[in-house]
Point group: C2
């Protein structure tokens, strides 16, 4: 098994952290100056590791092994949230780099091909998973044209021009080269920490659906309009929201989540009976049958409450994200490596957040490995993981990658 | 009894409506050019009616009878909401004018003193009941200095200067002159219309209290944060709001109202578990003991829900408006006049909206008369009343005023 170098791994992670560092976090949104600086730094690191480096027309950074395939592609993304943590994305990219180096240094694995990648804009500054979509050739040209960064007031096309990438070719998947894609990531939740575990072997990525309720009441004077006469849009909203929180637990699975994170009440004055209201509901699970039941329940509750004085509409408010499943064979390799390195300290688990493998698994077998997030915190400057977990995770992924490639060579 | 002139009454109301008319409504907010134009028009009308007219330093318009007291002051306000109806305020002012004229024309009542007034800014463009507060000498100088019209970006001081009133003296109450103050108004609700009635004899004006709930949870990722781990501020808000709507009806009186018209959930994104939320609750009744019970219930519910994972705070969010009560003797005169003119077609009732008598009743006996609002609509361009109701209301108030003044003369 290849021997990863913990000091080199941690030093590179910290050096990458310094590009766009703000307080304890990192501000390196896709295609920003700091993001491009980090990508140029990565390309140099890839070259130094003996890989052939390039940055393509959307900003994906590749490090291609000189070894012939079949290869594994290992990586993640180096762009961040507007106020991001230092490990979200960066961890998986530097794991790829360190694994390529460790493999090349060990005569037993030096012949195996590991390519490394940092995808562009996984976080959706312009369009979520922009880089992996481009590589998989599943990027919708209309959606690309429409993509904008609201807070910077810039279109994706303008941002690509500003980064000097307009005339740079975009690389797409070489299917014959790859056995598959591996990505390590911080968990961003607290299951591992709460379970006293060090490694999560990801089984799949949850499906996400969302619905929007619209409440059509009648705006009126909050003094002179009797309770009986009112058609209060907020009252109907409260009833729907409360019933969702009462009814959903009855059909939810252990890991199902639902959120009502956005709502509005019009006109929004203490002395006016609200005439209109909106409520957004989002729910996630890998088991789509639970989400089907949620949708049916939401429609039933809307229909019930809508029999009162306020008309209630409900509809899907985003294109559903289907559940995606990680390759069963790859999972066995990761689980085997985890059990060998940290016996009894790992578990299989779904990912409740979206990641590039959601896109890539339509084209290639994928697998993901999680390491614990301290306090389950992410998308925040406070995001962190213990160094021992960072090192352990890289060791397990390196062993799994070697084991996958060796199995193929021996087949 | 004095004979009011229906054609003259309606013609004056319509002429006043034309000043600031927009579609079917009126836009004449306090101290605007249209408001001051209407006040100058009123002053001319008062003079033509044999009254001595003046506009004081806040814009109150007085028409003083040449007859010695004891007098009745009759009126309302001629300023409007930003998009106001044509009768809110205007009705009561033109009633005062018509009653003064009718009294003077009838030898039996020509010796009685009726002064007429249009108060400034009842609607609170700068400060609600500005004019009556100024007249009662209960205007807080600090509050006056701070008063601003948010939408026009102008302070009250600037608006008074722009209207040319800075150096005009402010008139204050001559207590010895007045038996009391009478005001007619549209109901702004639908009790009279629903009951098939023409006249409401106002018993009092409701007390108003308001509370603000603050929910302190923990912002988090809507995918990776399990339901069990969440401290969802919106979920706690929904529970409090729902329980209020369940519990309040158990202690409410027939006319109690409560409203949750403003709320916010932070950061307000579909994919983020809300970390903070606010909810405003307002409630009104003439019976303060019911409002006491509501306050206790709100505190109890906040305390209960706050035992969960989200910390809940609740506090009074505005200075409570105390219930104010109309003079019992005046009410008898209005009821007697109503019964004589429209037998069985009147009722005693509280006002659920605020009016200048709320301020004036601290200094003088007050009474109010309501006429029906079509569909209960007000503070809207669609506000209207039937002409027959407008005429009947003026007749009843004229008879009541004569009866009050005659009773005093005969005493």
């Amino acid at each position: 098994m290849p021997a990863i170098n913990p000091d080199r791994l941690l030093a590179d992670l910290k050096e990458l952290r310094s590009i766009g560092a703000v307080e304890t976090g990192v501000v390196r949104p896709a295609l920003s100056e700091k993001d491009m600086e980090a990508r140029r730094w990565l390309a140099k690191k890839f070259e130094a590791a003996g890989l052939s480096a390039s940055i393509d027309g959307v900003g994906n950074v590749y490090g291609r092994s000189p070894k012939p395939g079949p290869a594994l592609l290992i990586g993640s993304h180096s762009d961040t949230q507007p106020r991001g943590g230092w490990l979200d994305g960066a961890l998986g990219v530097i794991y790829g780099l360190e694994i390529a180096r460790a493999m090349a240094e060990d005569p037993a694995t030096a012949g195996l091909a590991v390519d490394v990648v940092s995808w562009q804009d996984e976080e959706g500054t312009y369009m979520s998973c922009l880089g992996s979509r481009s590589w998989c050739d599943t990027l919708d040209p209309e959606a690309e044209k429409a993509a904008r960064n609201g807070s910077a007031g810039m279109s994706l096309t303008e941002a690509i021009a500003k980064a000097g990438l307009t005339d740079v070719p975009r690389q797409t998947i070489e299917k014959d080269r790859y056995l598959g894609y591996l990505e390590a990531h911080i968990e961003q939740g607290a299951y591992l920490e709460e379970g006293g575990l060090n490694i999560g072997v990801v089984t799949g990525i949850v499906a996400i659906r969302a619905m929007r309720f619209r409440f059509h009441g009648e705006q009126n004077h909050a003094g002179t309009t009797t309770m009986k006469r009112r058609k209060d849009a907020a009252t109907a909203l409260f009833e729907v929201a409360h019933r969702i929180n009462q009814e959903f637990p009855k059909v939810a699975g252990e890991r199902t989540v639902w959120t009502m994170g956005r709502l509005s009440v019009q006109p929004g004055a203490p002395s006016i009976v609200p005439g209109y209201a909106e409520l957004d509901l989002q729910f996630r699970d890998t088991d789509e049958s639970i989400l089907d039941k949620f949708e049916a329940l939401a429609a039933e509750i809307a229909n019930d409450v809508g029999k009162g004085k306020v008309r209630v509409e409900v509809e899907r408010s985003r294109t559903p994200v289907k559940a995606s499943f990680m390759d069963a064979g790859f999972q066995k390799h990761i689980a085997g490596a985890a059990e060998a390195t940290a016996p009894g300290k790992w578990q299989s688990m779904p990912s409740a957040a979206g990641h590039d493998p959601m896109v890539i698994c339509e084209k290639l077998p994928c697998a993901m490995l999680f390491i614990p997030s301290i306090g389950g915190i992410s998308h925040d400057f406070a995001e962190d993981s213990h160094e021992s977990d960072i090192v352990l995770g890289c060791r397990v992924l390196a062993d799994a990658a070697a084991s996958i490639l060796q199995e193929r060579r021996n087949a």
